[in-house]
Amino acid sequence: MAVQADKMVDARGSFCPGPLMELIKTVKTAPVGSVIEVLSNDQGSAKDIPQWVNKVGHELVYSEDMGDHWKIAVRKVK
């Protein structure tokens, strides 16, 4: 994890709106090039965040299983 996140979103315990929508919300207003890290204890995040990132054309920087939560970072590229 050499990349330093510009912004961290702690979405642990978020069932609704949930980690991915918290991420989308943050990405939308972040400057292009910035890295946003999401903390999530939703197992589904390890799958649905990369899926959205891939679909919209951003970059997945890392996805780490921290035991009781996931740490996932995304770079906004456009």
Binding site: V9, R12, P19, M21, W52
Partner: protein
């Protein structure tokens, strides 16, 4: 010397905190040891879930509005002013009519539907997130005989059940009018399922399939082409529409943005358990105004009220604030014009929607009336 509690915002959270606070410590309010002032920029208090019913002509706006003054206990000092700046260092609020000092401040300024962040949205879309929007949608739906209706959902938005309710009620509304076979309904959602809550998404998907409602996931509206009548997503999809209903993104209140109290979108960094503003020992935040990753909804503010009031009273008495908010949210979900479900969850307790029934629908309608008792602090 008296201690001043000032509450900024006359919506669900502000009104409930004010009433619960003065009802819990009546002697200190009566003696003037503690004063509670509510600053509101509107004289009318609106129960916003009513907009959905107004849009379907199932309710009248008057049912969902009361004068703020009439909702408040006599111990609350209501001041009608538009606060333009919060100076947390000086512990003062600057309004158009005056300056107000506080010992403790409660911020409950809500969130604001914002239409100008997406090109074309303000020009050619309908919504049920504003008073005016609900009236205009009601009129548009009553004239709609055939064509494509598209529902889009932006983030963040308040009342996460509402987009689904709108879609399911649209289906029923046109069935009742005998027009369903002439109306295409397409629902879209920002993530890879049709609702944030997996259990709700699983249930709604079956409803969509049974009722012939089209849907598209991973759809985040980026532009409305008003000439070609296309809803365009950042994922590259284009959906033609005759009537576009958007759930707009929400921002924090202008005073929060102007006072640099919030993040880029105007939501205030808040401790998820104590509900204290991060970095300030004299400010509590509740409802949509926080940056917490939970539902922006009246019920969230309702359940947070107890924590804020308990913590405020501890602090006013020189004790440590120990009450913890556990993330509890409860919401009803209208699944037809005469049927509803019910969901409850918290930070640690996953939601499980109740089986939709007519009884829950009537309970929701009863809650619409009971809300005024909750707002007054009587329930």
């Amino acid at each position: 010397m008296s201690q001043n509690v000032v509450i900024l915002g006359g919506g669900v959270g502000g009104t409930m905190v004010a009433n619960h606070l003065v009802r819990t410590i009546p002697e200190e309010i009566r003696s003037g040891e503690i004063t509670v002032t509510l600053l509101a920029n509107e004289q009318k208090h609106t129960y916003q879930p009513g907009f959905l019913f107004v849009a379907f002509n199932e309710g009248h706006m008057g049912q969902f509005e009361r004068n703020e003054k009439a909702l408040l206990s006599p111990g609350v000092n209501l001041i009608s002013d538009n606060i333009v700046r919060v100076d947390k260092d000086a512990k003062k609020l600057h309004g158009e009519k005056g300056v107000y000092s506080y010992d403790y401040l409660v911020i409950s300024t809500g969130s604001v539907p914002t239409f100008d962040t997406i090109p074309g949205q303000a020009e050619d879309s309908h919504n049920f997130y504003t008073r005016q929007g609900a009236f205009q949608l009601r009129d548009a739906l009553s004239k709609f005989q055939a064509g494509k209706i598209v529902v889009t959902v932006d983030v963040p938005h308040k009342c996460p059940a509402a987009p689904l309710e709108m879609t399911l009620m649209l289906d029923d509304y046109f069935r009742v009018r005998g027009l369903r076979d002439k109306v295409d309904i397409t629902y879209t959602y920002p993530i890879g399922r049709v609702h944030a809550l997996q259990s709700v998404a699983d249930w709604a998907l079956k409803e969509f399939e049974n009722r012939g409602i089209q849907y598209e996931t991973f759809f985040n509206l980026s532009e409305v082409d008003t000439r070609k009548k296309l809803a365009i997503s950042m994922e590259g999809s284009e959906l033609p529409y005759d009537l576009l209903i958007t759930i707009p993104t929400h921002r924090g209140a202008k005073v929060i943005l102007d006072s640099n109290l919030g993040d880029e979108q105007g939501f205030i960094p808040t401790d998820r358990h104590s509900l204290k503003m991060l970095g300030d020992d004299h400010i509590y935040v509740l409802g949509d105004a926080t940056n917490l990753p939970i539902s922006k909804a009246g019920s969230t503010a309702h359940y947070q009220t107890e924590t804020v009031v308990q913590n405020l009273i501890s602090e006013l008495h020189g004790l440590s604030p120990r009450a913890h908010y556990d993330g509890k949210v409860v919401c009803f979900l209208e699944s037809k014009m005469d049927q509803a479900s019910f969901i409850e969850f918290s930070y640690n307790r996953p939601p499980q929607p109740a089986v939709p029934s007519e009884m829950l629908h009537w309970f929701k309608l009863a809650y619409n009336e009971m809300y005024w008792l909750f707002a007054r602090g009587l329930l």
